[in-house]
């Protein structure tokens, strides 16, 4: 260590020498701090990475609004008039009324019970990975890539849905989280009997979809709940909330390990000041003031906290880089504030906890009468 620094901060010199004297003890006390910091930072960063992954998956859906019948909607669907009204509210956006049912879908390869939607303009909602989705869709079917895989479907193959057969015009790629084999999309005329069970709207942006959802609800639900709207924002918010709660709980657990480390520093400092009682008495006798003794011992505890904390920070960053690289193939995501804040939180907590742990032993040592301390 730099000699000039010690000449300026003699407490640091003495603290450093004392820690060096009991290297094993020092290293063990630091190890506690390192573990504490890593616990907090790694848990926080993992949570952040998971949340990032989930919201990334949802990100593509940001400009969507789905309108469902509300609790007081007697038809359990939308009338032509209501759809017109929604079209008027959603000027500039693409409005696609959807009928849906659950039907058996079969090919030569097999059969599956799955969700069937009927709509005029599926091209607004789905992106074809094979073939082309006609706009509007007047005949034929569009199937999900999952279903295509399971039933061995290719473009231009025939599929039987219910009791009618359709030619597959396109296959679309499934995005984000889905359940089941995916949807078969048919022309609106295919489910003639069904009401429009939902209305899909595509807007310019996420903000526009939030605003639109609010406006639709405001116009329809004056006294009764005729419509319900759902936007990805709602889902993201809910997911964010869940992660927040989860992370707080886990970091609480992580903090406990740092608390344990702080107690072990308290113990080490207390032990070492009792051992050095004579030395501290000597310092006081030759004119070292109480505040200077206090500073020296708090400096010892802080050196433990700072070095342990920094080591913990390094390990945490390595872990964070590993997590982000393996989950998203991008290690630099660890530098996002959402992730970095936990490392800094761990470091700050380590330094504060060790400083506080040094207070009592320091106070005790500084106030020991030198005569008695020297006597042993």
């Amino acid at each position: 260590m730099n000699v000039d620094l010690f000449a300026r901060f003699p407490s640091l010199l003495l603290a450093w020498r004392n820690l060096w004297r009991h290297r094993v003890r020092t290293v063990l006390a630091m190890a506690g701090i390192v573990i504490g910091v890593v616990a907090i930072a790694a848990i926080g960063m993992t949570g952040t990475a998971l949340e990032y992954g989930v919201t990334q998956d949802l990100g593509g859906l940001a400009n969507e609004v789905t309108v469902f019948p509300g609790e007081d909607n007697e038809d359990d669907g939308f009338t032509e008039m209501q759809i017109q009204q929604i079209r008027r509210i959603a000027t500039g956006a693409t409005v696609v009324p959807v009928k849906s049912d659950r039907l058996e879908v079969s090919t030569r390869a097999g059969e599956i019970d799955t969700n069937v939607e009927a709509m005029a303009r599926p091209s607004a909602l789905y992106t074809a990975s094979e073939g082309e989705i006609p706009d509007p869709l007047r005949s034929g079917a569009v199937v999900s890539s999952t279903l295509a895989g399971e039933l061995d479907i290719e473009v231009n193959d025939a599929v039987t849905v219910g009791d009618r057969t359709y030619r597959v015009r396109a296959i679309y790629e499934v995005q984000g989280f889905t359940f089941g084999p995916g949807t078969v999309v048919l022309p609106e005329s295919a489910l003639r009997e069904e009401p429009f069970g939902s209305i899909e709207i595509r807007t310019e942006s996420g903000e526009a979809s939030e605003a639109l959802a609010g406006e639709i609800e405001a116009q329809f639900n004056v006294r009764e709940e005729i419509v319900q709207t759902s936007t990805p924002g709602d889902i993201q918010e809910a997911i964010g909330g869940v992660f927040q709660t989860l992370r707080t709980a886990l970091i609480g657990i992580g903090s406990i390990s740092l608390l344990v480390a702080a107690v072990s520093i308290l113990n080490v400092m207390l032990m070492s000041t009792i051992e050095r009682r004579g030395e501290i008495g000597l310092l006081r006798a030759v004119g070292i003031r109480r505040i200077e003794v206090l500073r020296m011992i708090i400096a010892e505890a802080l050196v433990l906290g700072v070095i342990g904390g920094l080591l913990g920070t390094v390990f945490s960053m390595v872990i964070g880089i590993g997590i982000n690289a393996s989950m998203f193939g991008d290690a630099t995501l660890v530098l996002r504030w959402e992730s970095l804040q936990f490392v800094l939180m761990g470091l700050a907590f380590a330094i504060i906890a060790s400083g506080v742990s040094g207070l009592y032993p320091a106070w005790k040592a500084a106030n020991d009468p030198p005569v008695e301390a020297l006597r042993g």
């Binding site: 020498r17 006798a285 030759v286 004119g287 109480r290």
Partner: protein, 221 residues
């Protein structure tokens, strides 16, 4: 003006249900450049007296003066400051800090004063007590006599007006003890510093200017 004076000083300790008078009505003064030994059997109050002179303890009755100033109303920090600037200590058990080198040990009392030339003065003092080639040795690498000489150098680092020595030869063999006493005498003359040494070693009296005998907490006439 006396360097230090005790005027009617008494020290009483609680003991069991009663108390013990460690010192009774002590009148004592040390003049500049004088070496005084305080002798007496163990338990006679020698160390208590040295602690009072050294401002490590406060008297129950009477007045302690340092360079004419009554220190009765000094706060703990004022006492500490006075110890730092005016008093050097030499102990029987040396009391060197094991993790510091010889020269760093000498610097300890000046460590927080941050005075320029501290290191140079520490080296100079160690050279003067014959340890110029042991500057970077740890106490564990030094003999008893060498350790006590480091302690003497440490006592002088802040240019005190008085050095207090508690059984300075107590842990040393006779010959080494003698060299230490010669060292103290030289220092007394070179640095014009007063010395009060507490001992039951008769040899010290060969080197002192005068001696005071304590028995049962009283100075013998």
């Amino acid at each position: 003006m006396s360097v230090v004076s005790l005027e009617g000083v008494g020290k009483r300790y609680p003991s069991g249900e009663g108390y013990i008078d460690a010192l009774v009505d002590i009148d004592f003064a040390v003049e500049p450049g004088e070496m005084v030994t305080v002798i007496g059997p163990s338990g006679s109050g020698k160390s208590t007296m040295l602690n009072l002179i050294g401002l490590l303890d406060t008297p129950t009755t009477g007045t302690v003066r340092h360079r004419g100033t009554d220190v009765s109303d000094f706060t703990e920090d004022q006492l500490t400051a006075e110890r730092r600037s005016g008093i050097g200590f030499v102990f029987q058990a040396f009391h060197l800090l094991p993790m510091l080198s010889a020269v760093e040990n000498v610097e300890v009392p000046a460590l927080f004063a941050n005075r320029p030339g501290r290191r140079e003065r520490a080296i100079d003092l160690l050279e003067r007590v014959g340890l110029g080639d042991r500057l970077d040795h740890r106490p564990s690498q030094l003999s008893g006599g060498q350790r006590q000489r480091v302690a003497i150098a440490r006592a002088l680092i802040n240019e005190p007006h008085i050095v207090l020595a508690d059984e300075p030869t107590g842990n040393l063999d006779r010959e080494t003890g003698r060299t230490i006493l010669e060292e103290l005498t030289t220092i007394k003359e070179e640095q014009e510093v007063s010395i009060v040494a507490v001992t039951h070693d008769e040899m010290l009296m060969e080197y002192d200017d005068r001696s005071v005998e304590l028995v049962d907490g009283r100075i013998q006439p």
